[in-house]
Subunit: 331 residues, 2 copies
């Protein structure tokens, strides 16, 4: 039900995804009549592959996570997570309130052994391909051990989805030299060096989009600022480009000739293709879609969740965590 647009976006996306992926059963959780109306509008009948699971409540986008956790036990969000817990669903996808989704997921599903905090991880486009970045906002204060756990989970995610053997891990810092950065980052670097992971070392902000490493690890405050700053910059550049092309009849003519190129470019940098952040560290697969996602973007979030199920992400994380205890020495 969630997100800025609700079932008007999530239902068409789910139906479309289900039609293209015939091995997947979609369970649409939420206000039954609203979902049914959407299905009617799409001229799709609920059948064995598209099922409605009624939930009478809705978690609003600005609701306090603790309040949602206590009060909204029959919300679409909570029921979806309960379905993952019971095993009836393999994964849950939501465009709703991030904090509430995190709190409910943690409460219902519990953490994997060896993980103290869940992390929000997402793929970002780079000059070389794509990079997994985490944490993107779940944890404001992190210890070095948390950052190590993020690196382990990020390695599992990157390895699973991009089929990498030993994906490289960069630690986000403000200088490449070991002496730079705060104490948490310095200690995290020590832990990472002796972790057996493919630790590249410190990376700086520009390394994210250079694609210097397959994974970039940071605390949730820094990661969230970096992500939102990127969104803001991309929007500003797009607005500037639009303005320049609309400046006069000549520039509009130029735009016409450049249109195929601009469209290819737009397609390539379309953030909707990167929609779907993984809530890692839980005993279940939960993917958060951007609240403002349209059906095209929401489809990618469903795809991310299904890939995580298909490649057995949870087992991969479990195995990596297990091999970390006790901490390995450097290879």
């Amino acid at each position: 039900m969630g997100g800025d647009h609700g079932p008007g976006v999530t239902v068409p996306a789910a139906v479309g995804f289900g039609q293209r992926n015939t091995d997947v059963q979609m369970i649409l959780v939420g206000l039954e009549d609203v979902i049914q109306r959407e299905l009617d509008r799409l001229e799709v009948a609920a059948d064995s592959r598209i099922v409605i699971r009624p939930a009478s409540e809705v978690v609003s986008m600005d609701e306090a996570p603790a309040a949602a956790l206590r009060g909204k036990r029959d919300s679409s969000m909570r029921v979806s997570i309960d379905l993952v817990k019971s095993g009836e669903a393999d994964c849950a996808v939501s465009a709703g309130n991030t904090g509430a989704l995190m709190a409910m997921s943690r409460f219902v599903l519990k953490m994997l052994p060896g993980v103290e905090r869940p992390a929000i991880a997402s793929f970002l486009p780079t000059l070389r391909g794509r990079t997994v970045m985490l944490d993107l906002g779940a944890n404001v204060n992190c210890t070095p051990a948390h950052l190590l756990q993020f690196a382990i989970m990020g390695t599992a995610l990157s390895g699973a989805i991009d089929h990498g053997e030993r994906p490289s891990v960069g630690l986000l810092n403000i200088g490449e030299e070991d002496i730079k950065g705060n104490d948490v980052v310095k200690e995290a670097a020590d832990l990472l060096r002796s972790s057996g992971l493919n630790f590249y070392g410190n990376v700086e902000g520009d390394d994210i989009y250079k694609g210097t490493t397959d994974i970039v690890v940071c605390d949730g405050f820094v990661g969230n600022v970096a992500l939102k700053t990127s969104e803001g910059l991309a929007q500003m550049l797009a607005a500037y480009l639009r303005e320049e092309f609309k400046r006069s009849i000549f520039t509009k003519l130029g735009a016409l000739f450049a249109l195929p190129v601009i469209n290819r470019f737009k397609r390539r940098v379309d953030h909707r293709r990167y929609n779907g952040a993984s809530l890692l560290g839980l005993r279940g697969i939960v993917v958060k879609s951007h609240g403002s996602a349209d059906a095209f973007a929401f489809d990618f979030a469903i795809q991310r969740a299904c890939e995580e199920v298909r490649y057995g992400l949870l087992d991969l994380i479990r195995a990596r965590l297990a091999s970390q205890q006790p901490v390995e020495t450097v290879e």
Copy 2:
């Protein structure tokens, strides 16, 4: 002498600036023969308006700040700062090693009363104009009081250069709600609310380029990551756009038609126009140019320093700091 390119960039920039600004005397500090060779190449004679001040040493880009501070007393960097201290120069501009510049400036010039830590501040382009952001990397760990001091100095800088009466201050955070963020940011928000500054409240990463506030305040770790991430994203987008236009004979033709637009766009987002970060909080004006700056970019750094002198930035900061003690109540 500093920066990635040395006097081959800084001397032509200084000469050009001096020729356009006849009320400014330029003192070129560094290895005399190297500077003289550059002047000869430019067919410019050192005269009363362009003076060479010999300095026998050079601080390298990767030198440890403490080592440079102890060992390089006759470096171009140190001599420049000494000239500011003695009053012979009104400001110093360097493209050299940031850490060393900061350490030397702090040691030689000392801090303004009421400022515990210097901050690196820069203007960034936004959808509405431009925004002053600080700290961009001088301070990894900040207290709420430091962030308040940054806000005061940023207000003075923004007000002076952009002639704003009461520039607005945003506190960089990961959510607009007051409950979000870490303890330092929460306490800083309390201080800012009762500071008498035009405090807007929390802003998120995307607000930087939206231009939501005239000033964005954050600690140096977060600020540096946000800045470097922006650089990386802009470079990636530029590379993508170039690739798309070079894809075929048709796209190249499209590029030809779009060229005037693309050039205007490039000019508008040219980061060189924003070159020149102010080292705020010192008893003297020091501006840091990007190490990779070319002459065009370095010119903007000189311009920034001269504007700070012209508008009496130090006195404005002093006055704002003085009016803050004791802390004012909310208006």
